[in-house]
Subunit: 353 residues, 2 copies
C-alpha cells in the first residue's frame, strides 16, 4: 500500500483568492503534487490518505483575512479541513500502517505530518467500534463536540426547560436537539423545508420543528405557538433574523449560545453583519448571550465522545450525514450546499470510499 | 407641619401621550390636586412631601407601551420617579412625621401611600448619617445599586482586569468606575466632553477616560491606546456605536454588562434600535453579554449600601450630583439633559430644598 501511494498523485484544493460573499470557482485552485514515498519520511513523520472530509460553515470564516479564533488560511495554502484518513506510511512508533485517524487533513488526497507539526495536536486514532467514519466527523467529531459543550457547558439546560436550536437538521443542530431531549428538555428545532422538519420530529424526537421557509411569519408564529412559556436556551447556528425573532421570546434568565451565524457569513463585507436589534431583550429578561469555540474543550473531548458513543450504541442518538462523492475536485461546489441550506445532515465529502 | 401640608396644592406631572423619539412638552401635563389633610388618612397610610427626585434614563422606557421589566406608565398617570421625601403625616406605626424616606414618589410634590400600596415595597427610611439626600439618590440609591450588582455580580471583575464603562461621569458610571478601582482593576471611562473626562480621571481616579465627542475616531483610537490587552469587563450604559467599538477590543472571556442603551432610547420606533453588528466577537473571544435589572437584587441592597457608605465615609468613593432647581414644573425640560448628555453627574430635581 505504501508503494502504490508513493506512485500516485496528491490532488489538492488551494485558496487562490479571498471571496467577497459566496465563494466562487475563482477563489480555488486545484493543484497536483507527487505523494512522497514511504522511504522519504523522516523519523516521527506520518503519511495519511484521506477517506472523508468534513465540510463546515466555519470554513467560510477561515477564508477571510483578519484576526479570529484561528489564523486564516493563507493564499496558495491547501484549504484547511478536518477529516478521517488511513495511515499509509509511518515512521512514528504510535501509528501503524492501516490505523484510522481523525486529523486536520486539509482538502487533499494525502496529508503528510511532520514530527513537530502543529496539526499533530488534533490528530488521534479513531475506534470504529464507537461509530462509522462519517459519524466520527459528525456526532463523535467537531459538530458533536460543539453540540455537547455548547449546550451543556454554555447553555446549561435544566430538565423541563424549552430549548430552541436553529440549523436543527444540520450537523451541530441534530446532536444539540437529541442531547437536550436526553437531558429532559422540551426541544423546538428551526430548519428549512418540510422534509428536514419532519425528520427531526419523527426520527430524532424533537417536540416541534419550525420550517423557516414556510412563509414570512413562520418563525414568529412558530415560536409563539411552540414556546408558550418562552425560550430558556437558544442554541444559535444561524444569526440574522431568526436570532432577532428568538430574542423577542426569551424566558427570564435565558441563555443564548452563539455557535455560529451562517446567515451572515457570506455578506459582502465584515461590517455588513446584521446585529441583533432586539438585543435589549437581554436586559428586560436578565438573559445572556455567550460565544463558544469548541477547541477550548479539547482536553474534555474523551468525556464527550464516551457519552455520545453510548447514546449511539443504545439507539437514543441518531445521526444523519449527507455524503457527497467525487473527491477533492468537487469540494468548491459541495461547500456551497451549506450556505444554500441544501445539505440534509452533516455534510461530508467522500475522498476515498 | 401637617396642617400647612393639608392646606396646600399638590402639583403633578402626568404622562399626556407617548413620545416618538425625544419627549416633548406635548407629552406632559401639569395637574394640581388638593393635598389630603392628615385627618383624611386611613390606618396604615402615609403622606410624604417630595424633597428631591431622581431623573433616570430608564424613565424614557417607562413612557413606551409594551412589555418590559415593569409596566409602562399609563396615559394620565403621574410620571413614575424615585425620590427622597419627608413624612408629613402618618397613620403607620413604623413612620413618624419628620422621617426621611426613599420611595417611588412620582413626579409630584406630595405622595400618599395606602396601607397595601404596591409602591410600599420600595419605601424605606434613609439614614442621613450615611449620606446626603442626593447621595441617597445616587451612590446609595438605584444608580449605586445598579453599579454595585451589575459590576460585581454580572461583570465579575478580577484584580488586574481592564474595566471599561460608558456614561462614565453619569450616575451609574461614576460608581462603577470607582468601585472597579477599589477592587484593583484598571478603569477606562468613556464620557462626552473634556470636563467630564478630566473629572473622572483627576477626581475619581480612573486610569483614563475617552472623550467620545473628540472626533469621529476618538473612541476607536482611545480604546486601542488605553486597552492594549483588550477589555475584560465592559459596563454598557449607552449601546449603539460605542458598544460596537468595544466589541472589537474584547479580551478572551470578556463580560459585557448590558445595563442600558441611552443612545437608542429615543429612536423613532422600537425596531430602529441598532443591533451590535460586531456581536460575533462574542464567539471569537468566548465572551458573554448579559442583561441586568437592579430590582432583582432588592433583598441585597442593605449589603451594597453598607459597603458603599463605608467608601463614602473613608473618602475612597466620591459622588457628584447635578441638581436642577425649579420644582416639578421644570421636569420635562430637566429630563432632556440626560439624552443630550448635558448633565454632569447624577441628575436630580430639587422639589423642596
Amino acid at each position: 500500500m505504501t508503494a502504490s501511494a508513493a506512485a500516485s498523485i496528491n490532488r489538492q484544493i488551494r485558496l487562490a483568492s479571498r471571496p467577497a460573499g459566496l465563494p466562487t470557482n475563482e477563489n480555488w485552485r486545484l493543484t497536483e503534487e507527487a505523494v512522497p514515498a514511504a522511504s522519504e519520511l523522516a523519523d516521527g513523520e506520518l503519511l495519511v490518505k484521506t477517506l472523508a472530509l468534513s465540510l463546515d460553515p466555519a470554513m467560510r470564516g477561515w477564508m477571510n483575512e483578519g484576526k479570529s479564533y484561528i489564523p486564516p488560511v493563507g493564499i496558495d495554502e491547501v484549504m484547511r479541513a478536518g477529516g478521517i484518513g488511513r495511515v499509509v506510511a509511518s515512521k512514528h512508533p504510535a501509528f501503524a500502517v492501516g490505523d484510522e485517524v481523525s486529523a486536520i487533513l486539509g482538502v487533499q488526497e494525502f496529508a503528510r505530518f511532520g514530527a513537530n507539526d502543529a496539526r499533530r495536536a488534533a490528530l488521534f486514532k479513531i475506534d470504529r467500534r464507537l461509530g462509522t467514519a462519517t459519524q466520527w466527523l459528525n456526532v463523535l467529531g467537531m459538530p458533536g463536540m460543539t453540540a455537547y459543550f455548547g449546550l451543556l457547558d454554555v447553555g446549561q439546560p435544566k430538565a423541563g426547560n424549552t430549548v430552541v436550536v436553529s440549523g436543527a437538521a444540520g450537523a451541530v443542530g441534530q446532536t444539540v436537539g437529541q442531547l437536550a431531549k436526553i437531558k429532559g428538555c422540551r426541544v423546538v428545532g428551526i430548519a428549512g423545508g418540510k422534509a428536514k422538519c419532519d425528520w427531526v420530529v419523527s426520527e430524532l424526537g424533537f417536540d416541534a420543528c419550525i420550517d423557516y421557509k414556510a412563509g414570512p411569519s413562520a418563525v414568529r408564529d412558530g415560536l409563539k405557538q411552540s414556546c408558550p412559556d418562552g425560550v430558556d436556551v437558544y442554541f444559535d447556528n444561524v444569526g440574522g433574523e431568526i436570532l432577532d425573532l428568538v430574542l423577542t421570546r426569551l424566558a427570564r434568565g435565558a441563555r443564548i449560545v452563539i455557535c455560529g451565524a451562517i446567515s451572515q457569513y457570506n455578506n459582502e463585507s465584515g461590517t455588513a453583519v446584521a446585529g441583533p436589534k432586539n438585543y435589549l431583550s437581554l436586559l428586560v429578561n436578565r438573559a445572556r448571550m455567550e460565544g463558544m469555540v469548541v477547541f477550548d474543550y479539547a482536553a474534555r473531548y474523551p468525556e464527550a465522545i464516551a457519552e455520545l458513543a453510548g447514546y449511539l450504541a443504545d439507539g437514543r442518538m441518531k445521526s444523519k450525514e449527507d455524503v457527497v462523492t467525487g473527491g477533492v475536485s468537487v469540494f468548491p461546489e459541495a461547500l456551497l450546499k451549506l450556505f444554500s441550506g441544501e445539505n440534509f445532515g452533516k455534510l461530508v465529502l467522500e475522498v476515498d470510499g
